[in-house]
């Protein structure tokens, strides 16, 4: 029996396979397909202090081996979550992590304080990397001083596990990772989507209402993997890896590169059950390689 458990700071995951924010709703949508207790956890849809309608349609464009999205953090706000969604998901026997978003530092703080009251939610993923909002979002995640500032201020009001989600749209992702580590982040997760663009030549129009959007899926995997590898080598805190994971082999590669936990995102759209297959595949790999636990796999890249 291989041991699939992993710990990221104080968060215990029963296995290292989780679903990425924005690709699994608020977890309950996935229960139409499978028992939520089977996966390591859910990173819930990006939540803001107040209701956000998100961007205009069209918000999606398929691209070679991936897609662009410009959802723009549509959600009904944290109070709606607490009153209407949280009670429905409170008994799920898995980790539920809220993806926290703001236009200002004050937003991030106010939102975090509300999340702090929720016993079931033992960690937050601080999203300073959303490329699809005009204010805040990625702006915080692309410079060291602003990334440090948000992390520091949120850290002051939050004692549970603080995961900072990094943007790949930077010159040096290791600099940002070290900057947030320095301000007390308990873990980093990466990568968010890459800023991209698609044009419909016949009509000479952009395919997204926002012109640019975030690229995800297998198209980004090699870059995401490189970034996870670099960051895992640059920080002491755990790294949560994602970007184009489609199957168990991809997940294992991210763990070899140093990810303690992985998130499956866009792949869920193609196959809502993909996380379960990845869990089986990881288990099978560990057995075949005579490893007793996932911990032995993490960062075990042979150079």
């Amino acid at each position: 029996m291989v041991d699939l458990k992993v710990k990221v700071h104080n968060l215990e995951f029963k296995n290292p396979i989780t679903l990425a924010s924005g690709t699994c709703g608020f977890a309950r949508e996935m229960t139409d397909f499978f028992d939520p207790s089977l996966v390591g956890g859910f990173f819930l849809k990006g939540t803001t202090l107040k209701n956000r309608d998100g961007n205009a349609y069209p918000r999606m464009a398929e691209t070679p081996s991936g897609m662009l999205n410009a959802v723009g953090l549509q959600n009904k706000g944290i109070d709606y979550f607490i009153e209407n969604i949280y009670p429905e998901i409170i008994d799920y026997d898995t980790q539920l992590i809220i993806n926290v978003n703001g236009s200002t530092v004050e937003d991030y703080i106010a939102l975090t304080e509300k999340v702090n009251e929720l016993d079931k939610i033992q960690g937050i993923e601080l999203n300073i990397s959303c490329p699809n909002v005009k204010e805040g979002g990625m702006a915080f995640g692309v410079s060291c001083p602003s990334a440090e500032m948000v992390t520091r201020e949120v850290r002051k009001v939050y004692d549970k596990t603080l995961i900072v989600k990094l943007s790949p749209n930077v010159t040096s992702i290791t600099d940002i990772a070290q900057a947030v580590e320095g301000q007390g982040a308990d873990a980093v997760s990466l990568v968010n989507t890459f800023l991209g663009m698609a044009i419909e030549a016949e009509t000479r129009k952009p395919k997204l209402s926002t012109i640019t959007g975030g690229l995800s899926g297998p198209a980004i995997k090699p870059i995401a993997l490189r970034m996870v590898w670099q960051v895992a080598n640059a920080v002491k805190i755990p790294v949560i890896g994602m970007g184009g994971i489609m199957n168990a082999a991809d997940a294992i590669e991210f763990m070899l590169a140093g990810a303690s936990v992985v998130q499956v995102g866009t792949a869920v759209f193609k196959d809502p059950l993909v996380a379960l297959q990845i869990i089986d595949g990881v288990k099978e790999y560990l057995e075949r390689h005579n490893m007793n636990s996932v911990e032995e796999l993490i960062g075990s890249l042979q150079l």
Binding site: F33, D53, G54, D271
Partner: protein
């Protein structure tokens, strides 16, 4: 217990209905859940190597005894084109059943079903399922020319059939909304249902509004997931942005901002 499923179906029939529309029937590996008109499936098209996401198609017919369902696929681009080339015996992965169905008519209703392009499938399904006598069901199909029409004569036992074509080669000349069923007494109907190109549905909705007749339309917004998690398929409604894949694809026109 799961309510939605992902499974490999086997293609048991692939038949051209005309130059661009194909009927594809697939057999499920396990018992099919109940599927109603307006609901759809999301199909992975392995053969189309240059596309990434699944493609949504309305369910056209369900046979619970054979455990098969079929869809009418119109060739539009890369994915649908490859799908219509699929061989009998091939596997096809479906996510199903998705979306909400049309509201079934009451036994006293007189209904008008309007189908255009690939939107004929759910209209025919609804005609069959409505349980109403033919005298209470009118079905009108619109197309550019007689060649673009799918032969639906089999459905004459469920509905009175009417045709409109832009060149007048089948039925009345013009768009469906220029057809006499629309221009004579639309108020005779108690419910209108429509599925087809956006422009057609908007025109139908406008006529229904003017005549103050209850009307439901089925939207075909671009989708990534098809089950309500990506929020890509939204339609602005009077209740805010709604997901076409889970809140729809069927909407009462009074909810829409058309």
């Amino acid at each position: 217990m799961p309510k939605k499923f992902v499974a490999e179906f086997v293609v048991v029939e692939n038949r051209a209905l005309n130059a661009t529309n194909f009927l594809i029937k697939v057999k499920a590996p396990t018992l099919l859940p109940e599927i109603k008109p307006g609901q759809f499936v999301n199909v992975e098209i392995h053969e189309a190597t240059d596309i990434f996401l699944r493609r949504p198609f309305s369910v056209f017919e369900v046979d619970y005894e054979d455990n098969t369902l079929s869809m009418i696929v119109k060739i539009l681009g890369k994915g649908s084109g490859k799908l219509t080339e699929i061989k009998v015996g091939s596997k096809l992965s479906l996510v199903y059943p998705l979306g909400k169905s049309f509201t079934y008519p009451d036994k006293d209703d007189k209904i008008l079903l309007v189908g255009g392009g690939s939107g004929v499938a759910p209209m025919l399904f609804l005609a069959k399922e409505s349980g109403l006598p033919i005298s209470q069901v009118d079905l009108i199909l619109g197309a550019r020319t007689s060649q673009d029409h799918v032969n639906v004569e089999d459905y004459a036992k469920y509905a009175s059939l009417h045709y409109a074509s832009e060149d007048g080669s089948l039925g009345e000349k013009g768009f469906v909304t220029q057809h006499s069923v629309f221009t004579t007494n639309l108020k005779n109907y108690t419910k209108i249902y429509a599925c087809g190109p956006d422009g057609m549905m908007r025109a139908v909705a406008k006529h229904a509004k003017d005549a103050e007749v209850y009307c439901e339309v089925s939207l075909e917004n671009l989708m990534a997931c098809g089950f309500g998690v990506c929020l890509c398929c939204i339609e602005p409604t009077k209740n805010g942005n709604q997901c076409v894949c889970t809140d729809g694809p069927v909407f009462n026109i009074n909810e829409l901002k058309w």
